[in-house]
Amino acid sequence: MSLRLPLPLTTAIVSFALTQPALAHEQAGVAGGLVSGLLHPVTGIDHLIAMVAVGIWGAQLGAPAIWILPITFPLVMAIGGVLGVLHVPLPMPEVMIAVSAVILGVAVAARLRLPFAAAALVVAVFAIFHGHAHGAELPRAANALAYGVGFVTATGLLHLCGIAIGTLTRWPAGERLIQGLGAGIAAIGCYFLAQGVGAFA
């Protein structure tokens, strides 16, 4: 059966098919808040590499870090976000974020094995600075809940991405690859650190 449609008829069908969808709720700012929250943690390279490095380091450290970090990390980062939203000042936030990338990158590259409490403390301090930066820069018009959902989901997924990469440590070649990745993260962190202290000015 041959089905040849005249052009005007095809145009008419396509036009009807592409009618706009009906929206049950027109919550202004929900979509914007969700997109802002999702994009915020992934649009800054310094934030992104640090989040992924936390996941990789957690995977290298093994239990209990590998399962405690995904549970607590977004929560600690949200505490930093609260400080940022409420405009509570932290010392040298941009420098500390760059330092976090350097230290976490070095920890991954050197397979640094700290006691769990010490590793958790290091990550928690950095998480508060990262969360503070996100909270301080969030768009005021965004829907609060939608922004929170997007922000936490993106952070958690970046962290899980790091853990997934960290599972390569099971193989010797993967371990070397990850150590190289850690060195790369530390190098990028050094660049942002130099920028933060005004070395390029």
Partner: protein, 205 residues
């Protein structure tokens, strides 16, 4: 055969051309307000997050504790709807955030919540969300049909979420460090973080 095809295409085009506009809330139809009550909470992010959190918490605690919510949660929605009608609309943003934070922390800590506390929290969530759902009603909305729809979807959503969580977590057989238990606890951590962010944004100057 070619003629049949042409007729088919013309008929399709006529049907498409004569189609009515889609309406998400079929308020004009008979029993439309019932469906409005069903759909309204499912299109609101606050309801989705809080109902899911409550159902997951009850599901992780097991059927013996969670089964009370099958009756309590829809009843709480009904009470909230009535209270909302009596006392008028008020912003529930901070209360929503506080409940998200509390339920999320309990989930993240894998706390063994007593049945009474679980029931009290679920009832509080239902009352808050019932009042919030009733706040947007237009004067011409049939309150009875809306309440019936809201109660039915509350019953279905909480029962389904609890059952799915109980099956996923396999409460009796899994240890606290199995990947299923960790996934549920991580979800709790995320919900608590969302609640914390929402509270701060609600309180922000």
């Amino acid at each position: 055969m070619k003629l049949n095809s042409t007729r088919l295409v013309i008929a399709t085009a006529m049907l498409l051309a004569g189609g009515n506009a889609a309406e998400a809330h079929i308020v004009a139809a008979r029993l439309g307000d019932f469906y409005m009550g069903v759909v309204h909470p499912l299109t609101d992010l606050q309801d989705v997050v809080l109902w899911t959190a409550t159902g997951v918490l009850a599901g992780t605690l097991g059927a013996a504790k969670g089964r009370w919510l099958i009756a309590l949660f829809p009843l709480g929605l009904l009470v909230g709807l009535l209270l909302g009608q009596v006392f008028g609309a008020a912003s529930t943003q901070l209360a929503d955030a506080a409940m998200m934070l509390a339920i999320g922390l309990l989930l993240a800590a894998a706390a063994q919540v007593p049945t009474v506390l679980l029931c009290a929290m679920a009832f509080a969530v239902a009352v808050i969300r019932g009042a919030a759902n009733g706040a947007d009603l237009a004067p011409e909305t049939d309150r009875l049909l809306f309440a019936a729809g809201l109660t039915c979807v509350g019953y279905a959503a909480i029962t389904l979420t609890m059952a799915l969580t109980a099956v996923f977590k396999r409460t009796n057989s899994d240890s606290a460090t199995s990947w299923r238990a960790i996934a549920v606890r991580a979800l709790g951590g995320w919900i608590a973080a969302i609640g914390l962010m929402m509270a701060s944004l609600a309180l922000a100057p």
